[in-house]
Structures are given as structure tokens and as C-alpha cells.
Symmetry: C2
Subunit: 164 residues, 2 copies
DNA sequence: GGTCAATAGTTGACGCGACACGGATACGAG
DNA sequence: CTCGTATCCGTGTCGCGTCAACTATTGACC
């Protein structure tokens, strides 16, 4: 019902007026493409009853090993803000995939660790997650990937300079 | 501890392990760059008490003129799900920037229109909005923009083919 | 006319991102 | 020891995306 053969973004959205500039078209293309990727990820992960964000957190926890990770460190690695991570881990812990415990030396800190059940889940999902990025970018050649990475880095640079 | 001069994404996130592939790095770069743009937009629009999505809807309403646009058409142009648009317009209408009225011929339909106050708001914000995309992509030359657009189109193509 | 499917839109419930604020703890200054 | 301040974290609130279920209306078919 939503069939959408691939076209340029300009053709997809705008019956009313064209883009004012190629920069604007690129910006919109960027946002819409990323949104498409996000939706695909959600759909790919949903059979396991987990969201991409939760998967992301579990990967971070696994990477941290038995020692665990403080809540704020998770937030940094995800580039999310603190309150969100707290509740994200609430839900993950409620499902038995992660645990929290206070640090004894500094009782403000809370170390989060992944449980065996969480590790098992990740093991099942890893091939799936690998397939997502491989599939989405499968059509790009090596030099196109380089160009894309370069352009994105330049965009981030421009934004960060502008925000200081 | 939070200093972040612009670097490659690999350096930014991962102290634990490098990317498994350049495709994965590109995917993460795409997501993070777009997220940065989104945050910048939110920040730029917030002084006017409006979100980027609300601005987007108002632009669509303005483009549609006095006749207005049915709710589902707005959803299509935004590529969003229906329930979200309904409530988005709820909030916009509550602020006095838009109105809704039933169509007489087909009483299922609801036409949404922008109010004079909404037009005034848009007029104030247009230069700001133009500055956002201009600023974010200012560092890219014409041929880099073309490359970026091509790569993004290819990604969308791969995803949409894969989702059928 | 009555029934049924399709269409347009809304509502409810849940998860997530962002901001503001508060509570608890650590740590240094006096 | 006490006070102020910084840090780590949690909570309340809001905006928003999404699914599922629902209402209202239309139009076709018997």
C-alpha cells in the first residue's frame, strides 16, 4: 500500500515546489535516509523484542566485561543524555538482561553489567545486526564509502564549529 | 573530559574496539551526523517555541494555501505515520497556528489550514531555517554534494529493495 | 433497504529523547 | 567538623514515533 520505487527525494516529497538549493535537498535526503535506516533497524530487531537502543546498550555492556560500566559512561558512548539511559537500563534490567549495583568506594556511582541471559541474546542477534549495515550499504563501492565518510565528517565539523 | 574536537567517528566512540568494517563505520557516522543535525535544528528553533517537526508541518500547510490539506496528505509528505500527525496538529492548533475543519462532501476528511498567526511565525523563522542547512553543509563543494546525494539515494534504494 | 468492506481520522498505550530539577554522595576550604 | 560545591544519578514532564484498536463515513453489492 505504500509502494515507493526509489526516486530522488525531490520527486518523492515535493509536488508543491522544488528545493530552494542543493544543500537543502542534501540535508533532507540525509534526514530521510537515516530515518529509513532507523525504521529498518527497529523492524529487524523487533522479533527479539528489543529496540536498537537497547541492543546498543547491551553491546556496550558486553564490551565492558564483568566489571560493568557506570551509567554516565554508557550515556557518553551512546551520545545520549543521562535521564534516558537510566530508564533504558530500567527496562533492560526488568527483562533480566542487565543488572545494577552501587559502587562501594563511591556510592554515587552505579555499575551496570550484562547478565548471562543478555549475553545469550546478543549472541543470537549479532548476525542479524551485522546484516543490517551490510545490507543498507551494500550498493556502495569502496571509494563511495570513503566519499560518504568524508562528507559526513565535514558536516560534523561545520556543525561543531558553529555551535561553540 | 567532554572535549570533542572533530575526529573520525571511530575515535569518538570506541575506546573498546574498532569498527568491524568500513560499512559499519559509515552507518554509524550517518546516524550520528544526522542526530547532530537534528539537535542543532531543535536548538535553533526552540527560541520560537516550536520544534522542527511542527515547523515542517507549517511549511506544508503554507504550501497548500487556503484550501488546506487533509491529515493523511500531510503524513505522506512528512513520511510519518498517521497518529503522529494528528497529535502534531493538535499541538499546533492549540497554539493558534493551524485550524481544522470537516470536509462537507466527504465528512470523513479533515482539512488542515494555517492561520495568519502561523504565517507570521513562519515568516519570522524562514531566514533561521535557511541558515541551518546552509551552515551545516557549508563545507561541502558542489561535487561533494552530488556524491553525497548519490550515495544516499543508493542507500535508500538498497533498503527499499530489501524490505519488499 | 441492509450488510460489508474500505477509507479518513482519532485515541490509547508504550518506548524513547530532551530539559529541568532534586537527592545523595564525595571532596576541598575554612 | 561544617559548609559549599561538584559529581553521579534518578524523577517529572513534555514532544514525538509506533502499534493496535476504534469511530465515523462512504460506497458497493445483494
Amino acid at each position: 500500500m505504500k509502494a515507493k520505487p526509489s526516486r530522488t527525494i525531490a520527486e518523492e516529497i515535493v509536488q508543491t515546489k522544488p528545493f530552494r538549493s542543493k544543500r537543502q535537498e542534501a540535508l533532507v535526503a540525509l534526514v530521510r535516509t537515516t530515518d529509513l535506516i532507523r525504521r529498518m533497524s527497529v523492524e529487524a530487531f523487533s522479533p527479539h523484542g528489543i529496540t536498537p537502543q537497547q541492543y546498543n546498550v547491551l553491546r556496550i555492556l558486553r564490551g565492558a566485561g564483568k566489571g560493568g560500566v557506570p551509567t554516565l559512561t554508557i550515556a557518553e558512548r551512546m551520545m545520549e543524555r543521562t535521564p534516558g539511559v537510566t530508564r533504558l537500563i530500567d527496562r533492560i534490567a526488568a527483562r533480566g538482561w542487565a543488572e545494577r549495583r552501587r559502587c562501594d568506594e563511591d556510592r554515587r556511582r552505579v555499575f551496570c553489567t550484562i547478565t548471562p541471559a543478555g549475553l545469550k541474546l546478543l549472541k543470537e542477534m549479532d548476525p542479524l545486526a551485522d546484516g543490517v549495515d551490510a545490507g543498507a550499504l551494500s550498493g556502495l563501492a569502496e571509494d563511495e564509502l570513503d566519499g560518504l565518510l568524508g562528507a559526513l565528517a565535514e558536516i560534523r565539523r561545520a556543525i561543531q564549529v558553529g555551535m561553540d
